[in-house]
Amino acid sequence: MPHVRLGGPDRIDVRKTYKQYIGGAFPRSESGRTYLVVNPRGDELANASRASRKDLRDAVRAARKAFEPWAARTAMNRGQVLYRVAELMEGRRDQFRTEVAAAEGVSTRRAGSLVDHAIDRWVWYAGWADKIAQVLGSANPVAAPYFNFTIPEATGVVGLVAPESSSLLGLVSRLAPILVSGNAAVVLASETRPLPAATLAEVLATSDVPGGVVNLLTGRKADLVPVLAAHVDVDAVDTWGVAPDDQAAVEISAAESIKRIARRPPGIADAAFDWTDDRATQRPEWIAAFLEMKTVWHPIGA
């Protein structure tokens, strides 16, 4: 099977089993199933885990458990933790470049640019951790003797249907803004290009991101998206990677528990989106999509 080859041509290489990442561990799917991943030319790359509904429920449980302590970290600490992900990705830059080139069928040079952008994305969003409250919060001059203020807080458990075409940069661009405010994520990686995402999970596992804050599944969207959208312990869904024809069904299901929905901008096809456009992808609005605003009336008096 052709594959991502990191050794020289004369060596019998040691190939990797790509797994899921749930609660800080790397289990195979409880279903025992995998699916074959090919590159855009149709060449075989590897077998990826094919997550089941049970895997998804396990991932939501792990995310729920991780959410509160992650949100309770200081903003500066969360910023440093995300920055650390960039540091570790930098160290694995060549591996990611090779894997993205293989997954997306692009040149190594192009893949290198995509990886660089992905690393820089973590840096950009990491810096927001201790600023978003100052930009999106407010002190409100109410006409009564109260100190009234509004602070943003993380929504909770966010389901991310990752972009389908952009295996790494698209995923990172959507994941970092979810995490920076203190949300925990359940990620469905690109179905057709899942391998760089599975490797990103290895980076997350060895970074300081606590186990369960990011849970990453690979598999068939048809199996998983309906379960994610319907799960009552998921607070919000990022539907970027949902096919246009499925969007309404996802929203109908998500509305059962009044989930927050983030969508692709109108008129933008997943495959046509330019993830290297920093202005389009580095947006505080992408953080705000997974925030709740809490308003406090604190009495003023002796």
């Binding site: 407010s138 409100n140 006409a143 069904a249 929203e251 528990s257 609005e285 308003t295 009495p299």
Partner: protein, 511 residues
């Protein structure tokens, strides 16, 4: 009373009623009987017409099929007026009028001019405040002292606040250009008809949108009087369109393909249907839905002040408030004392004619709502909680409900889980702050919470732990146009009020 200490039901339910009405509860049998003379607000200031049409494109029109429905005074069960029942064709005409006004007139006006119109509306509301207050109390059943002192002044204040934003949008959102979304479809509830109208219309218009608003079918009159006020302000035709009718007309409105923005305040069940009805259409949506707020009283709270706050939290507007403090969480050590004080206070609550200036609790908005409340109170008794109601006399006619206080409530009881939307308080106890947090957050809702303690640091610790959009400390049910309001979880999304409320009505483009 010792059984208060636990959530489990130790014995048969107890239903008690208080002593003589209007007693001061001085103890030693020293109760002083006290009768208030009637103090009715004159209804002369309001002229209610026999019929009202829809307001579309600045004109009042009958519904396209000529059908009407009546709105009644819930305190007397007498019909007040016949109201046009909009059809799908009327909805379409209203949306077209709004689109036309947005693209041709309102969207092109400089912010400065939009501001002036909104200031005019604020001033007109102040000028005609008494008229609005009386009309609101007649149509909704809420006490005149609340419509006069809360609903109408706050509605005017909302227009005042957002008027000032209309020509300052460029300062509101750093790095972005704020553009109007277009046509907003707004569906509002019957508990604060005029105030909810203001929350919806003021930010929408400030940002350059036009609106089609549907008031609740039991309380359309203040919205229709507001349309008259828009005419008086010379607001361009079509900027504010009012359509009236049942829920399915609201659904026809929000699902109309030419609507850009949907804003809904009401029950979680209907909010869910609306979100599903517009699924996949890409419309902007804000939902302000139900709640089951915890009002948490710690042992160091100023108890008399807390009692007033608890009463205001759940009996304000007959408890028909989405953010009502319907679950009282009391620290165990003070539960007995607090409940005694609360029962004492309840005996002084005056239930009756909404237009009487001394009335504390008016009429329930509709027969259907009264039946729902009655059913849930019965469920509370049937499930084993102890019910206390003061022995106040209720009027012979109209939809009235005694203020109800449940003790010995378990978290599993329906009265502790379901939004009752009535003057019914469910009391639970806790020992530690940790337990209070757990119980307060143990609900799919997350709209509001109250915290009563003398300790500022504890207030802020609890604030941090509450999964709720509005947290009141040593107060409850306070509102202000500058203060964002809205929920977590199944209480909805988006905020109304403040800069955050403005954001719900703008499209942000890169500079």
């Amino acid at each position: 009373m010792a059984s208060m200490a636990t959530d489990t039901k130790p014995s048969a339910p107890v239903v008690t009623t208080g002593g003589a009405p209007n007693s001061w509860g001085l103890g030693d049998g020293q109760a002083i009987p006290w009768e208030y003379a009637p103090a009715p607000e004159s209804r002369e200031i309001v002229t209610i017409r026999e019929r009202y049409g829809l307001v579309i494109g600045g004109k009042e029109v009958a519904s396209s099929d000529g059908l009407t429905f009546s709105t009644i005074n819930p305190a007397t069960e007498e019909p007040l007026a016949e109201i046009a029942r909009a059809t799908a064709a009327d909805v379409d005409a209203a949306v077209r009028a709004a689109r036309q006004a947005q693209s041709k007139v309102w969207g092109k006006l400089p912010g400065r001019d939009r501001a002036k119109y909104l200031f005019r509306i604020a001033r007109l509301l102040q000028e005609r405040s008494r008229e609005f207050a009386v009309l609101e109390s007649m149509d909704s059943g809420k006490p005149i002292k609340e419509s006069r002192d809360v609903d109408v002044p706050l509605a005017a204040a909302h227009f005042w606040y957002y008027a000032g934003w209309a020509d300052k949008l460029e300062y509101a959102f750093p790095g972005r250009v704020a553009k109007p979304l277009g046509v907003a479809a707004q569906v509002i509830p019957w508990n604060f008809p005029l105030l909810m109208l203001a929350w919806k219309i003021a930010p929408a218009l400030a940002a350059g949108n036009t609106v089609v608003l549907k008031p609740a079918s039991t309380t359309p009159l203040s919205a229709l009087l507001f349309a008259e006020l828009c005419r008086q302000a010379d607001l361009p035709p079509g900027v504010v369109n009012i359509i009236t009718g049942p829920g399915e007309i609201g659904m026809a409105l929000v699902t109309h393909p030419d609507v850009d923005k949907v804003a809904f305040t009401g029950s979680t069940a209907v909010g869910r249907k609306i979100a599903q009805g517009i699924a996949g259409q890409g419309k902007a949506l804000t939902l302000e839905l139900g709640g089951k707020a915890a009002n948490i009283v710690f042992d160091d709270a100023p108890l008399d002040q807390a009692v007033e706050g608890i009463v205001n939290g759940i009996y304000f507007n007959q408890g028909e408030v989405c953010c009502a403090g319907s679950r009282l969480l009391v620290q165990e050590s003070i539960a007995e004392l607090l409940i005694a004080k609360l029962k004492d206070r309840l005996s002084t609550i005056r239930v009756g004619d909404p237009l009487d200036k001394n009335t504390d609790v008016g009429a329930i908005n509709s027969r259907a709502q009264l039946e729902k409340i009655t059913e849930l109170v019965a469920a509370g008794v049937a499930e084993g909680a102890d019910l206390y109601q003061p022995a106040c006399e209720l009027p012979d006619r109209g939809y009235f409900c005694r203020p109800s206080l449940f003790t010995n409530v378990a978290q599993s009881h329906r009265i502790a889980r379901e939004e009752i939307f009535g003057p019914v308080l469910a009391t639970l106890t806790f020992r530690t702050p940790e337990e209070a947090v757990e119980k307060a957050n143990n609900t799919p809702y997350g709209l509001s919470a109250g915290i009563w303690t003398d300790k500022g640091s504890r207030i802020l610790m609890m604030v941090r732990r509450m999964r709720a959009g509005v947290v009141w400390a040593n107060t409850f049910n306070k509102f202000d146009p500058t203060s964002p309001f809205g929920g977590y979880k199944e209480s909805g999304y988006g905020r109304e009020g403040g800069l955050h409320g403005l954001q719900a009505y703008v499209l942000l483009e890169d500079r």
